[in-house]
Symmetry: C2
Subunit: 277 residues, 2 copies
């Protein structure tokens, strides 16, 4: 009786790990991966059953690298989950704030806590590999002059003390994670669908592509463009819309889109994700 | 008689500097800036007459940070130029390929030369601040075990020898740079226009926004989305379209768009840029 294996990028204690627990809500085996590339590969090779992949943050925007990998690997999206991100300042047990000369974290987390950090004189701010990895380093090297910025879970995982909570400047900080598998789990109806397409080189091509949805009252949720390699300044469009490709209007829209695009791939239909505060 | 001052990000020898020379084609004073943030600020404060800003690369995609700064600073776009990017391996004079143990460059340049680098055993690959900065470091520290990947101009500027030319994997490598000023230079007709808008929270909002152009046969050139801070998973849309806001159809389209959007700002109308091979 082997447990379900979930691959994620980062160290134990990463926000992706929290997303995995929140999505599966069962006993899972976690497989931390050093990079997004390795994450997609581990699922593609069958070393994991699912992968949890951050795709956009409400402050920083899309994780464009992962949009590229979605297309490259064609691993279907089977779900999503949205996590409220909150950063905390944590230290080796017993260390006081006045002992701290250096703060380390992922550059994005450091940026999100900029106002908190700016009020602190003579502080060395250092970019680390990821948030949980920074917490791990403080623990393993027993650093007494260095604090990490990471999640509450990372503080627990690495036995660090939180000395300042919720230090991000903007509380509207959410990351949306996709859950990928090797086989699609298309809902019979409802939910949402992600696709990627490239338009033909005709006037109004993008407008016509969006019209196939608008004409059928299908709401668009997101559009993202990525470069089409080998064709400078032409793009792949990544589109999220409401409903499953098994819904009649959505199925018709996809057939219609097929007629007028040079390339079309369905990344997955799935149930819209919960938000974990 | 003071010369026109052009601010750019990076060191002397950077691709942005080449873009500045290619655009202005006159004797200019260059003002290198350490970051994109400093670049926008130097123009906003009047320390430079123009700024040259990379906005998208045909392989890596958009420079999203600069889209955010365009909105924040409202410095009008007055032109653009497209530069063919070609990378070269360069060393301190007299150094042979077999002496090299380490290669440094900007992470994006390293990625673009991955195939060339992968054929090389026992090589340490190190991320540097920028391409020209890596060349400068090899020169200043007289490094004899380290090569830099940078432009032909950087090799000349820092007196390094090119020992392998055109080492990028994909030759379709172009970067588009915008030229910003403090006052708009709107063409009477033609060229292209960049705008940014946020839709109202109504069904089909994005489709309706694009319709104002399609209904007037105005071609869309690019669409990009960026997160709207404080409103998780809502977006600003950056749109490029053909023509000037002084063209009648375009002016009408903008008025129409104003009716149906929650926010609209014109980033600039300008002559479409030349491509420098």
């Amino acid at each position: 009786m082997s447990k379900t294996i979930i691959a994620f990028q980062g160290e134990v204690g990463a926000y992706s790990e929290q997303a995995a627990h929140a999505f599966f809500q069962q006993d899972i085996d976690l497989s931390p991966q050093p990079s997004f590339k390795a994450l997609f590969q581990s699922l593609a090779k069958g070393q994991a059953n699912f992968a949890v992949v951050p795709i956009e943050n409400s402050l920083a925007g899309s994780v464009h690298e992962n949009y590229d990998y979605l297309l490259e690997h064609e691993l279907p999206i089977i779900g999503e989950i949205i996590l409220h991100i909150s950063h905390h300042l944590m230290v080796y047990p017993g260390v006081k704030k006045e002992d701290i000369r250096r703060v380390i974290s992922h550059p994005q987390a450091l940026g999100q806590c900029r106002h908190f950090l700016e009020e602190w004189d003579d502080l060395l701010i250092e970019s680390g590999y990821d948030t949980a990895g920074s917490a791990k380093m403080v623990r393993e090297k027993e650093l007494r002059d260095t604090a990490a910025i990471a999640s509450r879970q990372a503080a627990g995982d690495y036995g660090l003390e939180i000395i300042a909570s919720t230090i991000e400047s903007n509380r509207q900080n959410y990351t949306r994670f996709l859950v990928l598998s090797r086989t699609a789990q298309t809902p019979e109806s409802g939910g949402k669908t992600s696709i990627v397409f490239a338009t033909k080189d005709i006037p109004g091509a993008l407008f016509k592509s969006l019209a196939v949805f608008a004409l059928r009252d299908i709401n668009l949720l997101k559009i993202e463009s990525r470069p089409l390699h080998g064709k400078p300044f032409r793009y792949y469009f990544y589109l999220d819309f409401e409903g499953s490709v098994k819904d009649e209007a959505q199925a018709n829209a996809i057939n219609h889109l097929q007629e007028i695009t040079a390339f079309l791939h369905i990344l997955g239909s799935f149930k819209s994700g919960k938000t974990i505060e």
